[in-house]
Each structure stands twice: as C-alpha cells, then as structure tokens.
Symmetry: D3
Subunit: 205 residues, 6 copies
Amino acid sequence: EDFQLRAYCHIDRMQPQFAAFIGTITQGDPVVEGWAALYVEMAPGNWVFPIVDRVVKSTDVRPGSQIVERHYGMFEVHSGSQADVLRAGEVVLEELGLVRADRMRPNVASVQVVTNVNPFQCQLLNRFNRGTMIVAGETMLVLEVEPAAYVTLAANEAEKAAPVRLNHFSSVGAFGRLWMSGTEADVLAARDAALTALASVDGVG
Amino acid sequence: EDFQLRAYCHIDRMQPQFAAFIGTITQGDPVVEGWAALYVEMAPGNWVFPIVDRVVKSTDVRPGSQIVERHYGMFEVHSGSQADVLRAGEVVLEELGLVRADRMRPNVASVQVVTNVNPFQCQLLNRFNRGTMIVAGETMLVLEVEPAAYVTLAANEAEKAAPVRLNHFSSVGAFGRLWMSGTEADVLAARDAALTALASVDGVG
Amino acid sequence: EDFQLRAYCHIDRMQPQFAAFIGTITQGDPVVEGWAALYVEMAPGNWVFPIVDRVVKSTDVRPGSQIVERHYGMFEVHSGSQADVLRAGEVVLEELGLVRADRMRPNVASVQVVTNVNPFQCQLLNRFNRGTMIVAGETMLVLEVEPAAYVTLAANEAEKAAPVRLNHFSSVGAFGRLWMSGTEADVLAARDAALTALASVDGVG
Amino acid sequence: EDFQLRAYCHIDRMQPQFAAFIGTITQGDPVVEGWAALYVEMAPGNWVFPIVDRVVKSTDVRPGSQIVERHYGMFEVHSGSQADVLRAGEVVLEELGLVRADRMRPNVASVQVVTNVNPFQCQLLNRFNRGTMIVAGETMLVLEVEPAAYVTLAANEAEKAAPVRLNHFSSVGAFGRLWMSGTEADVLAARDAALTALASVDGVG
Amino acid sequence: EDFQLRAYCHIDRMQPQFAAFIGTITQGDPVVEGWAALYVEMAPGNWVFPIVDRVVKSTDVRPGSQIVERHYGMFEVHSGSQADVLRAGEVVLEELGLVRADRMRPNVASVQVVTNVNPFQCQLLNRFNRGTMIVAGETMLVLEVEPAAYVTLAANEAEKAAPVRLNHFSSVGAFGRLWMSGTEADVLAARDAALTALASVDGVG
Amino acid sequence: EDFQLRAYCHIDRMQPQFAAFIGTITQGDPVVEGWAALYVEMAPGNWVFPIVDRVVKSTDVRPGSQIVERHYGMFEVHSGSQADVLRAGEVVLEELGLVRADRMRPNVASVQVVTNVNPFQCQLLNRFNRGTMIVAGETMLVLEVEPAAYVTLAANEAEKAAPVRLNHFSSVGAFGRLWMSGTEADVLAARDAALTALASVDGVG
C-alpha cells in the first residue's frame, strides 16, 4: 500500500497575520483571527477529494483549500469552533483507518536567520511575498520543512511568540517554506517557537 | 540509454466536450468533435521537438500542444482524418526505433467517486476547472493515472460511455488527473469505461 | 455632486449555475444555491469601501466582492437569509441618503442570438469562459447591458426561465456581458426572461 | 494640439515602505529608501518613449517604469541623488517646451476613513494588496486622485507623517488610488499629510 | 443608431514576423506567413459574435481572435486564400448593411523614432514585448493609432518595407500601438510605409 | 550532510541578447551587455538566502534573481566589473566552506537540431518564448542540461560563437533548457560552443 498520511496538524487559534495571509491566498471560504483549522497532506493526491467530502458532510467545518500538486494532495478545513475542527480531524483518521501517530513527522530541512537585510535582497523577497513586505534593515527568518503542510503550524506558533511580520509562507509542494521579519530578538524568538512546535509533532519518519 | 516512451495513445473520435475542452486550453491549432488525435509523452523532455518536427513534416496532422515540464515532454497532433493520425503514430515509432509495445502502460494511482457533492467543496473544484462547472449535489469522479498523457484516453472513452460533464483534466506532469460529474449512475458508467480503456493499453511497466 | 448610484439590484434566490459561477470567480466569501445577494455599483469607485464597511457591520451578510475599476466601484454581499440581504440594501440607501429610484436603470446595449454555433467560434468563446463550456452546435445568447452590475440579475432570471448553460458573465467595467448556451427554444426563453427582468428595474436614465 | 502634461511630481526622499512597495511591483530598476524619484504622466501615451530616452541619456537617473495604458502614458525615473532627479525633471519640461505650471493639478475624487475594519472586508482588501496586509480591527484610509500618478506623492508624504502601513497604491489608469492602515489617529495624520501634499501642487485644471 | 464600424482592414500577405507574432498571442486558429486576414472592430462590442458567426459559416476562413473589451469588439479571420478573406470582408459589410467607406479612417495619435536606445529603457520595453526583443543601441519606432485594429495594417506594411524587428503590437483597446526596432534607416523606411498604409485607408472620421 | 552545490558558473561578458533576455524575465536589478554575472544553484533551496546576504554585503554586486523552487534554490548576482563578480564567487565558496571543484558538473541530457522548422511547430514554440521569436524555416537548437543553472553558460557562449537568435532559456527546475534559432550553420556553431563550454566545467558528478 502506497498511501501516506504526510501531514496532519491542527491550528488551534489563528493569529491575526496568519488569518489575514490565509484570506489573501485562499481559494475557498475565508477565515477570521481566533478560528481553528486542520491541515492534512497525503499521497496519492486525489485522496483529498473523498476525505474532504466526508469531513464537510459530517462536521461543521468549511474548506479553505483543496489542492493536488505534482505528487501530493492537501486540504484545509476551518471553523470558529475548535471542537468542530478537532472532530474533523478524528473523521479524517477514521476515514483513513489510521491513528494520529501514523502521520509523518516534520523534518526541518533548513533554518536561517539573516540580520540587517540588504535593500536589493529585500526587493527580490518582496516580489513573491503576498503577506507583509519586508523592509530593508530588518532581520529575516527563513525556514524549510517537509512535508510542506507543517509550515502552517510553524508560522502560527511563531506569530504567537513574538511581534514579527508574516511575509509569506508556502504550504504546498515538496517543502513548506516560511518567511518572517522583524527585530533580531523577535525573529529569534519566533524561530525558537516554530522549531519547538515542529519538534512536538510526533509521527513516523 | 535513458530514453522512455512514457505514453503513446490514440484518440479515435474526439467527443464533443473533449474537443471543447482541448480548444479551451490549447496553445496551438484547435480541434473539432470527431477528429482524431495522438498523445505521446517521453523523457528526456526535449525529445519532443525533433519528433514533432518529423511528424508534422511527413504526415498531414497539426500540433495542438508541445510541452516540456519538470521531467517529461509531451505533444499532441490531430487531424480530421483518422488515417493521418494513425500514420503519425507510426512515424513516431519509426523515428524512435521502437514498437508500440515499448511504451509504458498506464497505472491507475487512484480512482474515487463522491456522491452528492457539497457546495463548498464544489466551489473549490470550480476554482481550477476550465471545462464545465460542477454543480452542488452532483456525483463526481476523480481519477489519477501515470504516465499523465493517458488521462486523455480515459476522458474521451468516459464521455463516450455516459452523459457526464467534463469538468477538467490535466495531462501533463507526474500524474494525469480527470474530473467528471453527473448522476451517480452515469458517473459509474463513465468510470468503468475509463478504467476499461486504460486496462486495454498494453506496454511495459 | 458627482456621486452616481449606477446599479442596485437584488438576487432573490441564486440559481445553481449562478451560485457555482460566483464561487468560481469569487475573491471573497463563497455562496450557495438558494442564497440571496445584493449587487451595487457606484462612482466614484472608492465609495464602495465605507459602504461595505457599514453594511457588513450592521447586517448579517458577508461580502463576496469589492472591486474598484477604471471609473466605477462595485460590491456584492450575500446571505442565506433573504431578509438580511434586503436589510443590507436598505442600509446602503440610508448611508447614501438616497432612495431606490435614484439608481440608474439598465440600458441594454445589444442582445444577440446565434444558432448552431460553429466549432471554431466555440473554441474562442471557451478561451475566456469560466462557467460551463459551450459545445459546437448549440445556440448562444450574448447580452450587453450598462451599468455592468445589472447583468447579474439578467443571468439569474434567465437561468430560472430555462435549462440553459451559464457560460460566463462579467459584471465589472463599462458594460456587463452575459453568455449562455443551449437549445434555441431554451435560449430564447432565457433571453426573454433576462430582458423582462432588466425592463422591470426602474430608475433614472 | 492635444498634448497634456497630466502629472509631474517629485518624490524627494522615498520612505521605507514606499521604496519596498515600488520594488515589489517594479518592472525595471529597483529603488532604495532615501532615493528620489520623478513621476510623469501624459497623453498621448506613446510620448513617454522619447521623453524617457532623453531623460536617461542626459541625466544620471534610471527608469523604474514606463507604461502606456488605455489613454495615458506614465514613467518613473529615480536616483540616489536628488539633484539628478531634479535635473531629470527640468529635461522633461525642456523637451516638452513646457513649464511646471503647465501640468494638471491633482483633483481628489474621494477620501474615506473606515475604522475597525471587519475581517471579511479585510480579506477582500488583501486579495489585491501587494504591500503590507491590513489586519482586521485596524483603521483604513482610501484615497482616489486624478491624474493617477499624483497618488505617489500622497503615499510618500503620508508615510512621512505617521507610522501607518502602506497596503497598496495604484498610480496608473483613470484614477490613482491609495490604501493605508493603522490606528485611527495615525491614519488621520497620514490622510491630512496626503491631502496637504496634493493641495500644494499647482497647475492647470 | 449607435453602431460604429470602427475599423475594417485587410492584410493581404502576412509577413514572416507578423505571422509569428500573431501565432504567439493568438487565442484561436494559428496563421502562416503568406496567408491573408481581415481585422474588424466595432461598437457595441457584442456585435462581433453574430458577425463572426455569419462569416465563418458563409466563407472558408477561420477565426483567430474575437475579443470584447471595455467599449469595443474586434475579431480577426484568416485563410491561405486571399479570395476567401476578401469574400469574408464582403459578408461583414452585407451583414451590417454598410459599405466599406462607412468605416472610420485611422487617426495617427503619435509616431516617434528613438535612436540608439538606452539599455535600461530596452529592459522596460522587453518586459511587455512578446515578439522579438529590442537590443540596446537599436533605433526604435513607436506608433499609436485609433481605432486600434488598424495597427495591424501598419505593422504588416512596415515589415514589407524594411528588415526591421517586430517587437510588439497591441490591436485592442482605445489605441493600437506598435513597436519595431532596427537600424535607423530601416526604421525610418518602416515608419514611412506604415504611415502611407494608414493614410491610404479611406473612411469617415 | 545533504548540502549540494549543484551549479556554480561565471558569465564573463553578457552578450547583447543574453543581457536583453535577462532583463526581460528578471525579478530584480536589470543588467547591461558586457556585464559579468555569477549563477549558483544549491540544495536545500533556502540556503540561497544567507548566501545572497553575504555576497551582496561583502562585494559590490547586485542580485537579479533569488528563487526557491521544488527541490533547489538558485541566485544570480551581477556587476559591470568582472573582478567584483569573481570576488562574489569566492565569497560564496568561503561561506559554504567549499572549493570550486565541489560543484556538480553539467550533464547534457539531450541536444537536438531541427532544420527548416514548420510554421505550426514555430507557433507552439513562440507561445512560451520570451526572447526573440523563431520564424518558420529557421533551424532550431534545443538543449537540456542538469543542473539547470548551467544553461546560462551554454546560452552566453553560444551567442558569442554565432549570430543566432536567442529564443528562450529556462535556468530553474530539474533541467535547464535552451532554445536558439538561425541558419543551420550558425546553429551548429552555436551548439558546438555551448557543448564545449559545458564540457569545460569540472566538478563532481
């Protein structure tokens, strides 16, 4: 059997910038600060369609994304009620005949902190940023994790930990990637919170 | 030698929605219902360029697509004459020094049927659909096959078998993917026809 | 004073394809068949921002679009409750210090019916269609109305009147434009319903 | 003679967010905080090509944009030296045989302040924002001015006046439009600075 | 009656770069050097749909574009047979109940020649060029004409006259615009040929 | 340790079309003929961010691209001074604790020459070309190399060797790909120069 539960993680309370960023890039139902969400990634990708069907029919959540990329599929569902989102997660596992520990655990591929970012490097960063612009002179965090969907947990926990700016994250593909900026102290605190959150996710792998 | 003839398949008579969808997404010469087509996928990708050159010069077909993606290359040629398209297929094999049985055979990675599709799931599906919209309450077929180009055969044969709606298909990349919708009975009939067509393709693999 | 209430119209019950199409192109909160909506267009365009603010704060509707284009601004709000949407409309008028009859009335710039559409013309139509593909041989309705936002009323009423396919509509810009297809009888019935609905909208002009 | 010098304005010292935003959307040479720029808009649009040619050949500035839209043309040139940019402005006027007072003066079409922005309205705003996201609960400034290029002056002066966030501006088309957010007090200060700057621009009109 | 036949012009023999450029940007049936084409522009825009229908059904031409923009509609049809294209033109006029002299005649809004183009200006030009890149140091022609569709005639005749490079043209919108590059002598010859061709088009004005 | 220095190569003097093409597709600081550049590709992708930081701070180069794709990261820096670019290369190696020979060496996956290109194949090629259009009847070179960034060296050296047209190249992804066109003799000379340049790059592999 080739089925892989690549990522499975809960966002308990969306932080303000996290919610705003999801709203910016969403294809589906938009979200509000304080809401909860569930991110799930799997292979083969097309399995997301029956799983989303089951979840939206049996719980009171709405889907914000449902994406099939080169090798994997991922979806997000959310609600203002954390209990509904937890229940959605149980439905996913029941439907797949798995337990939570069958998920893959996150692997941090790289994490970097760059201080006093040069204006010409900023300019290139802002070309793809869809969140908050990075301004020259700030400190920047870049983090790369696989499976990709786990980057959402890292982003939300980092925002809880320090008043950094959420520049961008990408939670689809071979790697999840996160860009944040701020003062050096804040960025270091955000990094530590992101890494702690990722390390706390158990699973296979 | 690393050359792979990943996919090689004939569309004998393009169905109405199949032809309309190809016209919607085509980069090249558009097609008409009833015409025939040849889809070929290979690696390394750049081999498509000399092969298309040979085919369009030695037979009376026109190219509708010629795409080099991450790892593979694919092209489509078509004509109102099925004989011309069959001849084009022979030219491809001669040029490559292969026989038809050297092609890879299709592998169905997943196939799903979702009944009574939820409106919020529909909304996400329609964000990338370029064919006919799926409407809430319909039954949906999702099918994933590799190599990707074989999904064209599945789509065309499914449309022959039942009055389903062609929502979308993608025939480039690591997997080919197909979305259709309709009544449950029609979708099941379409699915069976698609799987039968794919199973009838011999090859290595 | 240059303020113009260019369009102001209610969609009482979104039809299935209308709802699916809005979901396909929406930038904001998605909609469901049977819900109600309010479309408003004005100049100067930036007036949409305080008006949407007032409406979403004082009534229980959600915004699906809020667009400022070359000369005009438009927004849409919706709800599963028709009463909420009617109340939203009252709030708009109160906020602007206007009554409904101060709106501009629709002017149909052109309306055309094309029978037995040629496959090559279909192909070009489908290049920009985001709704349901038109298939060669169908009859096609094309309708052009100003102000643009009134095309939504035409589309929804036409879908009520006959089992036509909603190919596309555009409700932003100098003109609203609508494309539908089906049998000739159905398309004529849809056209008549669209024109009747537009003629029933009073206003200045 | 139909020639119109629609806008002509200097940015003396690009503010941090202004520079970052220009870098985000630029088609040409990127800019750095503290640099100076010249924005010029004219009709017929194609006149921008010989004027940019003359300016970049006779002064030490680099072009960041050169755009011909529906009715007008606009360009931007910049330098780390304010003197070079002032000289570029003189070259433009000499080349056109005009004096500065021949420019059109800005006309503010609308200016709005919205407090405590609703999260669903935020979501729609962030869909087109390319600068810094607006977060629910902030106060928002929206400003609309013609000719469009003058919005750059409004944006830069507003950023000087108060620690607001630059969400987005558009300086091409029939109207220039600006979106900023922050606390109510900061947004009001930014608005006043923007209006004062626009009022200080003399010209015909 | 508001109907306007804004542009009506024949391309007798598509030049090599003209044909390649049309193929690059086409939404429909691609073209080949030496073929003939008819370009027609009208208002209201939606009239293009029944006119294209009539033309493709009664003559042996294929449509390459059919576009409705803010105020106008335009289409192109082509064939390897010049007689077929001439006949298509007659069908258009018959269908509209007009004669050729009822068309609007072209008005050249601006024409500029820039020698020894600066590399930074080239860079900005190449950002939107879809034809052949302009290389620094070349001489550039920029031409602006209304109605927009007449720019096709200017481009094709200019290419006949001199070995210039076709950088780009845009034949939809308020103005048609053309960019070519080469040696100064060649560009001047191309410009003269373009202006002569436009001046030879009679019509109302 | 998983770090890979996938590509590392210098462009000594950008040729005219090479520089124009880079300007066409650049996200960052534009370039001029005669300037030098350094292209570097690595995995994990996110390592590009600290490396670019170090390079732009310690040498007088500007970044033109900084891209993280599915598996790899790449960047380009450039300057009018070849010495500055050489120094930038040294900084990269020092920062990584590697020597030049630790880079991977290029592997040519395929190279093809197609003579007298058919107009319908040209049309498809021009759909993605961003450089100079290929015109029917020319001879075409297609080359595929991995790691992708080495295709830049192939393109620039080919342009030095013969007056071919640079149609397009892509230097990001699993493979770098290059398209050039011209007379057969010129294309063969360009091909040989490209292959010679790639063969001269030592490294692991």
